[in-house]
Structure formats: C-alpha cells, structure tokens
C-alpha cells in the first residue's frame, strides 16, 4: 500500500470548489475511499449533503463518472450500472477493468435505503458501498435517524420538560451488513486516514460486495468548532463508541483497542453541543445508560473478534 505522501500525489477524484461546510468529514472520507483503487470507478451517490454540495448544476466536482438517482436507491442504482458493465464487457464493448462505488449517508443507508442495500448485497454485485455516517438527517436540517446516538438532541428529538433528546440507541448497521455474509465489511474513521484507505483498498480488491461504515463528524449537526472534526472522530474511537474493525469472509478482526486508555463516553459528549443537556446533573442517568450500552457493545465486539 502507498504511503501518505504517495497518496497525496494521486489525482483528486472529487475536486475542490464543492460547497460542503468547512470542517465537513464527508469530502475527507470520499476522497480517501476513492484513493483505494487505481482502476477507473463509477460512483453512485444517494441524495444527501455530499450529493447536493458537489453537483449544483451546471457545476460538478466529480472527476469520475457519477450518478445520483434518489435518496433510497444508491445500492440499486449501482447494481444496474454493474450489471450493465458485466454484460457489455462480455459482449466485448468494454475492455477496461472498472470498479463500482456507492456513497450514502446514514439516512440513505441505515433508514430509507436499507432495503435497497440489503438486496444489492444479497445479489452479490461486485461493488463497494460506503456509508458516510454523520448520525442524522443533516441535509434536511438535523433530524434524528436510526443512527443518531441515544440522548442526542436533533430537531425531531428535541430536549424539553418530558423528553431529553433521542430515546433509542444507535442501530448497529455494520453488524446488520455483516449478517449478509459478504466478503468484506469494515468500520472506519476519518481521523485514521491510512486505516481508512487500507480498508477501501481491501473493499475494492474483493470479488463481490464490500461495505465500509465511516463515522463522519458534522459541524452544524453535532455543533462543535469546525477545526475539531478529526478530534471528534478520534474521540469516538477512543471511547469505543465507534470501534475500528473489519469482518473479512466472516472473520471479525479488531483493528484498534485503546485498552486502559479507553475514555469514558462523557469525554466525547462534552465536545458537542447536541449533548449539552446531558451535562446537567439531572440527566446523568442518560449518560450512564449510554455508557452501559457502549460498554456492552464493545465487550460483545471484542468477543466476536476473539479478544473477549
């Protein structure tokens, strides 16, 4: 695998000049992922921040063939492109090796696009799906999704006298995808750039579907200063809220274990104003519940990875 200097010299497949927010995790992740293969790629993107910010007609930031169809169907759309490729290659109309990549946010992947993703995984199309998980419907103005963490404020999980933010735990989508027993599944984070690129390389290299779920801090949605994006991503990993792991041919591998340096979840929460209400003494029980859930999932993951 190339080192970071060599990676920096490769052509940008998502050009600068797009209109994502300063400090947004999406472009960091998208660019890193697309460095995971030297082959030409065709990209499908679900409706969401990445799509609207990079293709405001008549401009486009994409230096690769790119298609946006709708919100819930990036996986089905890329299935069609990949099926077309297979046939046209067999007919000798195309001779290049082309890779297929789909991007969706957590809304487009955990929620409305889950069926489309599941179908495409089951059918075994040769493609990589990358979920850019910013834990909410940020493009439509910060509403809760099934990926929004327990206790988080959003515009549809408001904090008031009765309710104190989201009352459900985050869906474990990576495990849901792993249950499809596809060749490669991984969870990654933007702050560990080389780990992310390495995972993208693996994902592009396997035959069949591959999936990477990447946590993508969101400046307006999580409410933190824009320069802290990578620190937020790192803290999510250090608290074991967002562990880094891979599932390769059904073998679970833990990529990072902070061991005794595992930080309490409050360290991550207090960096974000969406959890501001949890800092009040009357809401400590919510933080405790979240901590319990993080610990439970972390121990469970370690067992799956043979480290329990």
């Amino acid at each position: 695998m190339a080192n970071i200097r060599e990676l920096a010299l490769t052509n940008e497949r998502l050009a600068p000049g797009h209109r994502l927010c300063p400090g947004c995790g999406l472009s960091i992740i998208a660019r890193a992922v697309m460095r995971g293969t030297k082959d030409p790629i065709v990209v499908a993107t679900a409706t969401g921040c990445l799509e609207v910010s990079t293709t405001i007609y008549p401009y486009t930031a994409w230096n690769v063939p790119w298609i946006h169809n709708a919100f819930e169907n990036a996986a089905a759309t890329i299935s069609g492109a990949e099926a077309a490729y297979k046939v046209l290659k067999k007919k000798g109309k195309i001779n290049k090796e082309i890779k297929f990549l789909a991007f969706g946010g957590d809304g487009g992947t955990y929620d409305i696009g889950l069926q489309s993703l599941s179908g495409a995984l089951e059918r075994g199309h040769n493609f990589v799906y990358v979920c850019l998980d910013n834990e909410g419907y940020m493009n439509t103005g910060i509403q809760r999704s099934s990926s929004t963490p327990y206790g988080a404020w959003t515009n549809t999980s408001q904090v008031g006298k009765i309710h104190k933010g989201k009352e459900q735990f985050k869906k474990d989508l990576t495990a849901v995808v792993a249950a499809h027993h596809i060749p490669y599944v991984a969870q990654a984070s933007s702050h560990n750039y080389m780990d992310l690129v390495r995972k993208a390389e693996k994902a592009f290299a396997v035959k069949g579907p591959a999936f990477i779920n990447v946590l993508s801090p969101c400046v307006p949605g999580w409410k933190y200063p824009m320069q802290l994006t990578q620190k937020l991503a790192k803290m999510a990993v250090d608290t074991c809220f967002w562990p880094l792991f891979e599932v390769e041919n059904d073998k679970w591998i833990l990529n990072y274990d902070p061991g005794d340096n595992k930080k309490p979840i409050i360290e991550w929460l207090k960096m974000q104003k969406r959890f501001r209400h949890l800092m009040k003494p009357e809401n400590t029980h919510i933080v405790e519940q979240l901590q319990k859930n993080v610990d439970f999932r972390w121990e469970n993951l370690k067992k799956l990875c043979g480290k329990g």
């Binding site: 293709t55 063939p65 298609i67 946006h68 169809n69 069609g80 077309a84 297979k86 059918r123």
Partner: protein, 386 residues
C-alpha cells in the same frame, strides 16, 4: 401464446443488456418466460432479480445511464411503488422500455385489470403505448425500443396490455423472425454513458430554479419530437410487416354517427358489436387509442370531428375530476373546434369487471339519445351496481 409470453418473446428477440424486475401478479408470467431464456443462454441479458419494484426501476436507471439497453415489467402496486423513479427515468432521459400489465390499484386489493396504474402515471414523462392483444404487445414492445432510443426523443416507453384478459389469454400470434427484429432494433449505443470512464459525466445533479425549468422544457420538446418519431417507426415497421399502425385507429368510422373510443383489449369486444350492429344498418364505429403519450390533439379532432355522438370508455377514474383521463383529454382536444361531436364518458371495468356485449350495446343505444342532442349525464358508470 399468452400476452405475457408474447412480451417475453419480444424481449428475447430484443435481447436487452439488463432486465431488472420484481414479481407482481399478473406481470410475473413475463418474467417466468424470460428467466427461462436467460437460463438457457438464449439471451445475453443480465437479469437482476431485485428486492422491489422501486429497485427494479432504480437498477434500470443505473443500467441505462451506463449505456445498456434496459427493460422491466410491472403491474399496479409495483408501478405505484416505483413511481418516484419512473419520473426520474424520464427526466434523466433514459430510454428504458417497461411493459405494464394493467391491473387495478389497491385498495381494496384486487389483481384484475383496469388502467388506474398506467393512467396514474400519465404525467411522468413516459411515452405510453396501449395494446389490444398479445400480438400488439409484442409489436409495441419492439417498436418501443426504437422510439425511446431515437436521439431526438431519449425518453422511456411504457407498453401496456390488459392484465389477465391479454396477459393470460392464449391467442394465435404472428411473430417476426429473430433476425428481422435484431436488425430492426439495431445495436444500442448509450448517450454519454457512465461506463465511458475517459469522459466522465455527472448524472442527476442538483438543479435549482435557475435551470430546472429549462430542462423540463427540453423534456416537452422531446415529447413533441416523439410525435414525428413514432410516426416514422410505425411506418418503418409497417413496411416490414404490412401492418400499418397509428396513434388512433378507426374501425368503420367512415359514415359512422355513433362511435366508442377505448384502449387495450376492449377494442376487440367492441369491434364484434360494431360488426353486428352494422349488419343491422346502424352507423356505428370504433376508435382505438394506441398512443396516449404523446397525445395527438389534431388527429383526435380529425378522426372524430364529423361524428355526431362519441362515448369514451375509461377503464380508470379520476376522482374528483370531470370524467376519466381519456375523456378529459378528448374533450379538451375539441375545446376550440366549432364542429364537434357530443361526447360522453363511461367509467367501466374497474377491478376487472367484465365488459360484455350487452354493455356495449347499451352504450350504442344511449348514444342514440346523445346523437339527437339529449346529452344527459356527461359522465356515466357502466356495469356497476348502484
């Protein structure tokens, strides 16, 4: 052959690159047959057996944008589920061909024929061609490929046939040989395909108030061009087969005073009644609609302008509107015409309610009053208990 088998046969001869489909009655028989062609290696098609109709159309969009010839088929609720992407397919200017085996929309759930499904998406920007029987479904499918893919059109094409009545009824069919169809449809070359990786293109950008309207206007022009292209393709097909099709096809219209207008299989039943009544000296006729979108305003006026009384048969209702979709269209066509027939509408056959000869005779009978100027209720219901 059944109508479903005819459609599968057309698809076999077209040999599309990608077919993405999901089961729904009564469309399923098309895919049963087609899947066998795939299994036997008779076609090169990649059959993508998706997990929903929404994904069927989504995969067709992905495949067509990639430069593949893509097809699908559906009915009723399946078409309703894919509606969002049906609109996107047309707006992205992708010449997908979809066979719609007409079936009533839920609720209540019903599996039998009416046209609420395809009429429900008459404004999605698809070309719509209706088929009286299996043979026409076969021919319309083959012609549909050429129409949609024409560089001046680049629009998807919906080929409709009546659920069960056509799709499951066995009739004698005249087929073309494989080579003729192959050369008629020709090789498909995509228009700015995604798979041309050396010339990257962006499909489906965010298009706001400064450009969206112009793009919609271009779609309108494409539909306008389709009027000419459909005529050309009908003519070219006619030269091969000797069968000359039109947007609207009249039967015993010359000197006719009372005419029924309809789409799909009902035309066959009405033709029988026309013959019977003609023998008795009644001046009756039939106008069968083949193409609903694009709508040929002038032609409908030309065909019906001299008729005294016209009954439009609508196999779907438009709740709260004044009459069914076909009636509204025809009546609107005559708005600024001075000499025009008295036109009434019959909503009939919903949920597969049979249209029989007695009902058709009743319509011609009531048209006698209309002919004499006693129009009565403009919108009526045929064959319903009330």
């Amino acid at each position: 052959m059944t109508g479903a088998e005819c459609t599968a046969e057309a698809m076999k001869q077209i040999n599309p690159d990608v077919v993405a489909a999901y089961p729904i009655t009564p469309q399923t028989n098309i895919m049963h047959s087609f899947s066998q062609f795939v299994a036997d290696g008779i076609v090169d098609t990649d059959l993508v057996t998706v997990e929903s109709e929404h994904s069927a159309m989504s995969a067709c969009v992905g495949a067509s944008a990639s430069g593949a010839r893509a097809m699908t088929a559906t009915s009723a609720n399946g078409l309703a589920l894919m509606w969002e992407i049906v609109y996107i397919a047309a707006s992205t200017r992708l010449p997908i061909v979809m066979n719609v085996v007409n079936r009533a929309l839920s609720a209540p759930i019903n599996i039998h024929c009416d046209h609420s499904d395809s009429m429900g998406c008459r404004d999605t920007g698809w070309i719509q061609i209706y088929s009286e029987n299996g043979e026409e479904a076969y021919e319309n499918t083959i012609m549909g490929v050429r129409i949609g893919e024409h560089k001046d059109v680049l629009l998807p094409v919906m080929v409709c046939q009546d659920g069960f009545i056509t799709s499951h009824s066995v009739e004698t069919v005249e087929l073309l040989n494989d080579e003729i169809v192959k050369s008629f449809v020709g090789e498909h070359t995509g228009h700015y395909p995604l798979l041309d990786v050396d010339k990257p293109v962006t499909y489906g950008p965010l298009d706001l108030f400064d450009y969206y309207f112009e793009h919609k206007r271009q779609q309108v022009l494409a539909m306008e061009n389709a009027k000419r292209v459909i005529r050309e393709i009908f003519d070219e097909f006619g030269q091969i087969t000797g069968k000359h099709y039109d947007f609207f096809e009249g039967y015993k219209l010359e000197d006719a005073e009372k005419v029924i207008v309809c789409a799909n299989s009902s035309a066959g039943t009405i033709r029988v009644v026309v013959d019977e009544l003609r023998e008795k000296g009644e001046k009756v006729g039939l106008l069968k609609m083949r193409v609903f979108r694009p709508w040929l305003n002038d032609m409908i006026v030309e065909k019906l302008g001299k008729i005294k009384a016209v009954a439009v048969l609508d196999r779907s209702d438009s709740f709260g509107a004044f009459g069914g979709p076909l009636f509204s269209e025809i009546r609107s066509s005559f708005h600024e015409v001075k000499e025009k027939p008295n036109i009434i509408d019959y909503i009939y056959g919903l949920g597969g309610r049979e249209l029989d000869i007695i009902q058709i005779k009743k319509v011609f009978n009531e048209l006698e009053q209309v002919k004499n100027g006693n129009v009565g209720d403009r919108v009526r219901y045929l064959g319903v208990r009330e």
